[in-house]
């Protein structure tokens, strides 16, 4: 009992020592990110137009969702689907760095989802390098990530801290006039997630229908990304990237979606009420279209990593 009291007292002192006076009202200015204002001497070369920012906000999605689908579909992990990390120094412009930071972020999500903590450290080293050069390293607590990656029991924490780091970085970039970097990271993340999933389909004798449908459903995302990239009329690099994404969008020709009206339901899962809406979408991807998407994504992704 005495020991417990000492521990609790020490814990309290340390908390106060670290945190200062406790305020009756939680410091929500900080929670909203006001404390994240960093000195950044580099001004963006081109600010994303308002319309494009809206698109960017609309399509923000998690890099681990696709990996979660693969895992739940029984797809085995394969290191061959992720980027081979060799020399990230050759990414010598912010354009290349941001795209490849996104690619590495998607790979990290894939590794975490499959609890492959070994390769995570290589991946994180590359992320560290690129994030430092992009001046966003402050959002990654590399020491904690390293500690978590060496302990397989903390894989959920590892996933949480890395995802939150990417989210905080994204928010910071968008709020501090660097939306173009955020857009490029998003493009890289999306392409890599698609690359992993489409390579899985390419290697499958019988493609999993849920993965095929998820690939088909990404048409809305690639439409938005292509539109967003099209807002950059003065940057040759963005123009080229826009062309690349347009080829992926064109490969979606033949994908159809129908909506089936059903009955809305509710069910209890994990102690909470879950709503199941009445509209169900069915996306069909013809075989030749799927091949075209697989090839299109592969080409663009390989172009991005070899920039």
């Amino acid at each position: 009992m005495k020991k417990l009291f000492i521990i609790l007292t020490a814990f309290t002192i340390m908390l106060y020592g670290c945190g200062g006076d406790k305020k009756p009202q939680q410091d929500f200015g900080n929670i909203l990110g006001d404390d994240q204002t960093q000195t950044d001497e580099v001004k963006p070369t081109e600010e994303l137009p308002t319309e494009a920012q809206q698109v960017l906000q609309n399509i923000s999605s998690s890099p681990v969702e696709m990996a979660a689908l693969l895992q739940s579909s029984g797809v085995e992990f394969s290191e061959k689907y992720i980027t081979e990390i060799q020399d990230v120094d050759r990414y010598n412009t912010d354009f290349k760095r941001a795209l490849n930071l996104g690619i590495l972020g998607a790979d990290l999500g894939y590794l975490n989802m499959y609890k492959k903590t070994g390769p995570v450290m290589n991946n994180m080293q590359a992320i560290r390098k690129l994030s430092e050069e992009l001046r966003v390293q402050q959002f990654f607590d590399f020491q904690t990530i390293k500690r978590l990656a060496t302990n397989n029991e903390n894989i959920d924490s590892l996933m949480y801290i890395t995802l939150q780091s990417f989210n905080n970085m994204d928010t910071y970039l968008q709020q501090n006039g660097r939306s173009e970097v955020s857009a490029l990271i998003l493009c890289g993340t999306w392409v890599e997630g698609m690359y992993i999933a489409t390579q899985v389909l390419k290697d499958s004798d019988v493609p999993d229908p849920d993965i095929v449908e998820r690939i088909g459903d990404q048409r809305e995302v690639v439409e938005n990304l292509t539109t967003m990239l099209g807002y950059y009329k003065n940057s040759p690099q963005f123009q080229n990237l826009h062309k690349e994404f347009k080829t992926i969008l064109d490969s979606y020709e033949g994908v159809t979606t129908t909506i089936e009206e059903g009955e809305p339901q509710t069910t209890e899962i994990d102690g909470i009420m879950v709503v199941i809406p009445n509209e169900i979408s069915h996306t069909t991807v013809p075989e030749e279209t799927l091949t075209s998407i697989i090839n299109g994504v592969e080409k663009v992704r390989n172009n991005l990593i070899s920039l």
């Binding site: 340390m14 908390l15 670290c18 945190g19 009756p24 009202q25 939680q26 410091d27 929500f28 900080n30 929670i31 909203l32 006001d34 404390d35 994240q36 906000q57 609309n58 399509i59 923000s60 999605s61 998690s62 681990v64 969702e65 979660a68 689908l69 895992q71 739940s72 579909s73 990654f140 607590d141 020491q143 904690t144 978590l148 029991e153 903390n154 959920d156 924490s157 996933m159 949480y160 995802l163 939150q164 989210n167 905080n168 998820r214 459903d217 809305e220 059903g262 899962i269 994990d270 102690g271 909470i272 009420m273 879950v274 709503v275 199941i276 809406p277 509209e279 169900i280 979408s281 996306t283």
Partner: protein, 143 residues
Amino acid sequence: MRKAIALLVVALSFMSISAFGQSDELVNTCALNIGNATYMKDFKVKLQQSSVKPPPSSKFSILMNKGTIYKLNTCNADGYPGKAVVELYDGTKKITANLQPDGTIKDAVGFFCQKSGVYKIQVYFKDGQEGAAVVILSFMQKK
């Protein structure tokens, strides 16, 4: 998941050099409530008291995928009277909300997505009171 995140929260409390600032304390605490789901994103909302009807709100867009169960967990910041009401919309159609017909507010609501697309999350504080809250979006893959 809960245990692992709890350990992380404690660890982060002691770190002198941390990428996390005070800003994420409530997010870290709230993430303890997501159960077996995987954290996806957090939304931070702070709104002043308002007598305007309907009360002012914050809106967020999010891409959701068919076949995925999403959870929205809400945590209100200490020291504010407002309780966050979270609503999920497909276009203009309200799909679900944590405010119940009897006026009570649930800490979490779930949504089993059957149609991939962009959905809107709207957050306001009940009765237009001043409030600050964090909403955690997490997901579970249904197979």
